[in-house]
C-alpha cells in the first residue's frame, strides 16, 4: 500500500477533523483546535529549563483521501522528547487514528497500520530525533510498535454501558454506593449543571487535592477555560451543591455517544463522604437521559482510586502505552526518580 504522509496545516483542519470523526478511536482531544490549545499551554521541565511544545500533526493520504492522522508533540529540551498526548494537559490518550478502521477487514487494517506507523516512526527518528518517545493510544493493535522496539504496556479506563437504562445500572451498583446516594439526598446535596465559575471551582479543588499529596498539577486554569470556550457543545461542568455552594464538581467530555468523566471529583475535606458518589451517579443519570450509550471514567490504573471507581460496576477498556528511550535518557530519568521520589500522576508525565 502506498500512503503519502506530510505535516498538516491550518487549511487541513476540516479534513483532519473528519478523520477524527470517522475513526472509532478518534476523541475530542484529537480535534484540530484541541491540539492547538494543548500546544499553546504544554511545557516540559528538564534539567532546570522550561521548554514549550511544538505540534507536528502528521496526516496520511491514500490518493486524495485522508485516512490517518497522528498528532506528535516535540519538546526541544536538552534530551529531546516526543509525546502524544502532550505534557500537563490531563489528556490520557492520543496517538494515531485511522479513518473507518472498524469497517476494514483484518488484513487491510494491518496494511494501513504497517505503512502509516513505519512512516511516522521514520519521521520521528530522522526528523525529530528524540531521546525518548511516549505515546498513549486507544488503537487495539500495537504490534507494529512492538516490532519497532517500543515497550508496550496495557493501561485501562472504566466504561459503563448505559444502554440498559438507569434502573438496571442502579440495581447493579455496589450496595455502599446506593446507600451513599440515599445519604447524599437526605443530607441535601443538589446536582446542577455549572458555568465558567464552577469550572474554576473544580480546577481549584483538583489543585488543592494534588498539593495535599505533594504533586504539582500540570493542568493550567487558562487551558481549561480556552477548551471550554472552544468546545462548549462537548464540555460540561457539573457540581454537587450544599446550601447553594458547590462542594464537589466534575468536568465531563461529551462526544460520539459517550460521556467521559475528565477532571474533578476529588476527595474534599470537611465535605460529607457521599458527595462524590452522588455526583457520579447524577452524571450517569444525566448521560442516560441525554441519550448517551456509554459513560467513561478515565484512568483505571491507580489501585487506590480503582477501589472507589469500580463500585459503579463498569467494565474495563484497554489502551496502550508505547515507549522508547535512549539509555542516556533512562539513566537520567532513574537518577531523578531516586533523588526526588515524586509520585507519577495520571498524566504520567511528572518526571
Amino acid at each position: 500500500m502506498s500512503l503519502e504522509i506530510r505535516i498538516a496545516e491550518k487549511k487541513d483542519e476540516k479534513i483532519w477533523d473528519m478523520v477524527v470523526d470517522e475513526s472509532p478511536h478518534g476523541t475530542i482531544f484529537h480535534k484540530w483546535k484541541f491540539l492547538k490549545i494543548m500546544e499553546k499551554y504544554s511545557k516540559a521541565h528538564q534539567l532546570g529549563k522550561m521548554t514549550k511544545a511544538k505540534l507536528y500533526p502528521l496526516i496520511g493520504f491514500k490518493g486524495e483521501e485522508a485516512i490517518a492522522i497522528f498528532p506528535i508533540y516535540l519538546y526541544r529540551t536538552p534530551l529531546r522528547m516526543v509525546y502524544s498526548p502532550p505534557i500537563g494537559t490531563g489528556v490520557t490518550h492520543l496517538g494515531l487514528v485511522i479513518s473507518k478502521y472498524d469497517e476494514m477487514k483484518q488484513n487491510k487494517k494491518e496494511n494501513v497500520l504497517a505503512t502509516f506507523i513505519k512512516e511516522a516512526n521514520k519521521f520521528i527518528s530522522t526528523e525529530l530525533k528524540p531521546r525518548t518517545i511516549n505515546i498513549k493510544t486507544s488503537l487495539n493493535d500495537p504490534r507494529h510498535f512492538l516490532w519497532l522496539g517500543y515497550r508496550v504496556e496495557p493501561l485501562y479506563d472504566y466504561l459503563l454501558d448505559l444502554r440498559e437504562g438507569k434502573e438496571h445500572i442502579y440495581k447493579n451498583l455496589d450496595a455502599d454506593v446506593r446507600k451513599n446516594i440515599q445519604r447524599a439526598k437526605r443530607f441535601g446535596f443538589v446536582f446542577s449543571e455549572g458555568t465558567n465559575k464552577d469550572l474554576k471551582f473544580v480546577w481549584r479543588s483538583v489543585v488543592k487535592r494534588h498539593e495535599e499529596q505533594n504533586i504539582k498539577l500540570g493542568i493550567q486554569l487558562n487551558f481549561l477555560i480556552d477548551i471550554y470556550k472552544a468546545f462548549g457543545d462537548n464540555l460540561k461542568v457539573f457540581v454537587a451543591k450544599e446550601k447553594g455552594k458547590p462542594v464537589t464538581g466534575m468536568i465531563i467530555i461529551c462526544y460520539k455517544g459517550k460521556t467521559s468523566l475528565w477532571v474533578g471529583s476529588t476527595k474534599i475535606k470537611n465535605v460529607h463522604y457521599s458527595a462524590n458518589d452522588f455526583l457520579t451517579w447524577e452524571i450517569i443519570k444525566w448521560s442516560c437521559k441525554s441519550g448517551y450509550e456509554y459513560c467513561e471514567n478515565i484512568w483505571a490504573n491507580d489501585m487506590r482510586l480503582c477501589k472507589f471507581k469500580s463500585r459503579f460496576n463498569p467494565d474495563i477498556s484497554i489502551y496502550y502505552s508505547l515507549k522508547k528511550s535512549s539509555l542516556l535518557y533512562d539513566f537520567f530519568k532513574n537518577l531523578k526518580r531516586k533523588t526526588k521520589r515524586k509520585k507519577i500522576g495520571r498524566n504520567g508525565n511528572v518526571y
Partner: protein
Amino acid sequence: MGMSIDIRIANNSEAREWDQMVEASPNGTIFHTWEWIKIMEKHTGTKLYPIIGFKGHTPIGVFPIFYQKKHAIKMVFSPPPHASVLYLGPALPDYEKMKQSKKESAFLAFHDKVNDFINSELKASYISISTSPGLLDSRPLTWSGYQVEPRFNYLTDLSGGADHIWQQFKKNLRQDIERTRRKGITIEEGSKKEVIKVHELLVKRYKDQGKTVSDSKEYLLDLFKTFSKVGMRVLVAKYQGDIVTGLIDVHYKDKVTSWIGNLKSNMKKVSPNDLINWEAMKWACDNGYKYYETMGAASVKRLHSYYSKWSSGLLVWFLARKYPSITSKILESSYLRILKPTYSRLKSKRG
C-alpha cells in the same frame, strides 16, 4: 482492606473439581485442565504446583505454576517452557458474573497470595506468567511489580457459518483453495501415526532453520492419547499418498484452536496449507464452535500477514515477567542478546 484468601496445592483426587473450575472460568482453557498440566510437568523437567484459592470454603480460582531450578537459578513459569503452550496463568470461575469491584478484589487477593507463595516458599529469582485470553485485566500483575506486555492471537468469528466465511475470503484465497483441491490434495483426520509424522515435519523444518524442536514426540503422543476423543484432532494434507503438511488442533468450550503444525509445504502452484486451514475451520463451523483461534502467528512479524487474511480480529493476552533481583534481569538480558544468538550461530556452523 482486601479480600481474605487462602491457598493450597491441589492433589490428584481433586482432578475433577479442578477441571470443573477451569470449565466455569471464562478464561479457562484446555491447557489448564488437570491431565494437560500433569503431562506438561512430566515432559518439561519442571515441578507442578496446582494452586487453588479459597474464600472461606468457596474455591475462587486455580493457578497452575511450574517450578524449575537450572544453573542454581530458581524459576517459576506458567505455562512451562518447551510445551508449545503460549498461555496459562490463573483462571477464576464465574469471573464474568461478578461485579467489577469483586472481580478486582478476588483477582488481586488471589494473585497476591500466589505471589507470596512464589517468593517465600519457592524463592524464585525469575517469574514468567502468561495469562490466557478472556482475562482482559492485567492490573493485579502490574500492581505487584510485574512487567506486563500484550500478546496477540488471531481469531475468526464463525457465527456467520462456513458459507459466509468463504464469501468473505479474498478471491485469490478461494481460487488457491479450489486449485489445490483440483490437483488432488486431500485432507484427512489422522491418529497416532499422523501425530508422529507432524512431529517429524516440525523437526525437519526447525533443523533447516538451525533450531531444535523443544517439545518431544512423547509429549505430543501422551497428549493425543489423553485428548484425542475429547479435545484434540490431527489433520494431514496428502498428495499421492504422501503427507505434505499437517496440523494439530485442540477444541474446548466454544473454540477450536489451531495449535501446532501447518508448516509451509514445498509444493509449487498449490497451497495445501490454505486447504488444511480451511478444512479445519469448516469442521469447527459444522460442529457448532463459535470461534477459530490461530495460535502464535499474530505476534510473529514473519507469519502475521499470511494468517491475517483468515481472521476477523485479534485476541489479547498478557506476558508478565518479574525479576526480583537485578542479577536475574541481567542474566536474562545477556542470555537473549548474547548467549542465545552466539550458540545458534555456532550450531549452524557445525551443521
